[in-house]
């Protein structure tokens, strides 16, 4: 009993610390897993994905070590502000709402959103009429959530999930008629992992910029301008020397 309490008290010890305004030599990234192929665990349980590999390459270029810390999406920005990690590299779309709280790097990729439905779904195109009274799944607090809420909130039922996993489960069990998420993620999670069971509905969505912004960026705390600048320079270098293309092709093929 006494031992148990001692152990728990250690766990309770609230992590606190101080550091001088610092030059980072170790960068911790917050990431929401799984979001295949952007970030996920492979068969051996190793963390991998486009974000992870690009992030590691950027760290190597800058000359810092990096570490990945898993965090659910709806707590990912608060976690950054709380210094649980120093940056977020987790398919985060750059937009003005988020700019009020975090500092973004230059965009490193642009991926459209897309609608996915079970194969044979009666929904053929996306408009208010077709979505009337349909159940749409989105991940809570994502740009997809905001977009669907603002555009179809009046006609459709929107279910919000903490993780993409929950959402896919409810689509499989037919609780949802549609989900709206990054095309590439839906492609791997739904089209490839469940071949023949799902289909894309309607067009890819990249506009308006208010929601889909300029693409994905790495998010930093507002004051870490120097760090963001180092990542921007490294990103430019990797794009020039071909490292970026190599990683890109590994995940998305030639496009």
């Amino acid at each position: 009993m006494k031992k148990l309490l001692t152990v728990s008290l250690l766990g309770l010890a609230i992590a606190a610390g101080t550091a001088q305004a610092r030059d980072y030599d170790h960068v911790r990234f917050g990431v929401d897993v799984p979001y295949e192929p952007m970030e996920y665990r492979d068969a051996d349980g190793e963390l991998t994905g486009f974000d992870i590999e690009l992030g590691n390459a950027l760290c190597a270029e800058i000359g810092v070590t990096c570490e990945w810390i898993e965090q659910e999406w709806d707590g990912i920005i608060p976690g950054l502000l709380a210094r649980n990690y120093d940056a977020i590299m987790s398919s985060m779309t750059i937009n003005d709402e988020r700019r009020q709280t975090v500092l973004f790097s230059d965009p490193y990729i642009t991926i459209p959103g897309a609608w996915f439905a079970p194969a044979g779904s009666e929904i053929e195109e996306i408009n208010e009429e077709a979505l009337a009274d349909k159940s749409i799944g989105v991940q809570r607090g994502t740009t997809f959530d905001s977009y669907v809420t603002d555009n179809y909130g009046g006609v459709a039922n929107i279910s919000r999930y903490s993780t993409a996993d929950d959402m896919v489960l409810d689509l499989q069990s037919q609780r949802l008629d549609l989900v709206f998420l990054e095309f590439i993620v839906g492609q791997v999670t739904l089209l490839e992992n469940h071949e023949g069971e799902y289909q894309v509905v309607g067009e890819m969505v990249t506009e308006p910029e208010e929601y889909f912004g300029e693409g994905f960026g790495i998010a930093f705390r507002l004051r870490d301008e120097a760090l963001a600048e180092r990542f921007n320079e490294a990103l430019a270098t990797l794009k020039e020397d071909g490292t970026y293309d190599e990683i890109f092709e590994r995940y998305f093929g030639e496009e």
């Binding site: 709806d74 159940s135 929107i158």
Partner: protein, 239 residues
């Protein structure tokens, strides 16, 4: 009204849109709590009578039911029902599916079973506390056991159960906050949405907390008023 408009114009969180979210959340919470309490109450009366029965084959299964539902977290009960129904083969083809596919009904079922278990025990306690004298008087009067239950035991048991039941109603209101875990946009769900979109925990959750507080007080005062009316005869006479 002007200051109110100014306040609204000044913030980016409480737009008419988000207020509408909270309003819908309030409606969902109220529906969920009211319906589960109502059905739970209807179930609890026969269950409580059965639980007080001298026949063990009646009282024991009811005891097991109340013990299990009172001894485990409502969250687990909700998960079991929400995820559980999906994995019955072919459930998607039955007439039940249009209801069960919505998060509302699995949540309603879980909440109803839960509150029925607590209410059963509350009533059982109240039935047990009926004074022997009242029952004997009824019997001397030639009342059948059924009539005694209906005319003598239940009415006085309901009154005795009132304060405890009032607490149960408040507990249920508070417990309903977990509905947001299975995607229901109740009051807490609305708060979580606003929090996730604007990263404004204080505004999002304090606003919801204030509404819950008001609801709690409303329930509290309603039951006080009810007790005053129904239990008037139990108070000491004055002057």
């Amino acid at each position: 009204m002007e200051w109110f408009n100014a306040l609204l114009a000044d913030n980016r969180i409480f737009t008419p849109n988000t207020i509408a979210f909270y309003w819908e959340g309030l409606v969902t919470t109220t529906q969920l709590v009211f319906l589960s309490l109502l059905v739970g109450l209807v179930l609890a009366v026969p269950l409580a009578i059965g639980r007080s029965s001298r026949h063990r084959w009646i009282s024991l299964p009811i005891y097991v039911y109340t013990y299990v539902f009172r001894g485990t977290p409502l969250l687990i009960q909700l998960y079991i029902i929400y995820y559980g129904v999906v994995f019955f083969d072919g459930i998607q083809e039955t007439f039940l599916w249009p209801m069960l596919r919505e998060a509302f009904y699995p949540a309603l079922i879980a909440f109803t079973l839960n509150t029925a278990a607590y209410t059963t025990e509350i009533f059982r306690g109240a039935i047990k506390a009926t004074s022997r004298g009242e029952i004997e008087a009824a019997r001397a009067y030639g009342m059948s056991p059924g009539l005694t239950m209906r005319r003598i035991i239940l009415p006085s048991a309901f009154r005795r159960a009132l304060p405890a039941y009032g607490n149960e109603v408040i507990f249920m209101l508070h417990a309903s906050a977990i509905a947001s875990v299975v995607t229901l946009m109740d009051l807490t769900g609305a708060a979580r949405f606003v929090y996730a979109r604007f990263y404004a925990p204080f505004e999002a959750f304090l606003f919801a907390a204030a509404i819950y507080l008001c609801l709690t007080f409303a329930i509290l005062f309603f039951f006080r008023w009810l007790e005053k009316r129904l239990l008037a005869h139990l108070r000491p006479q004055s002057g």
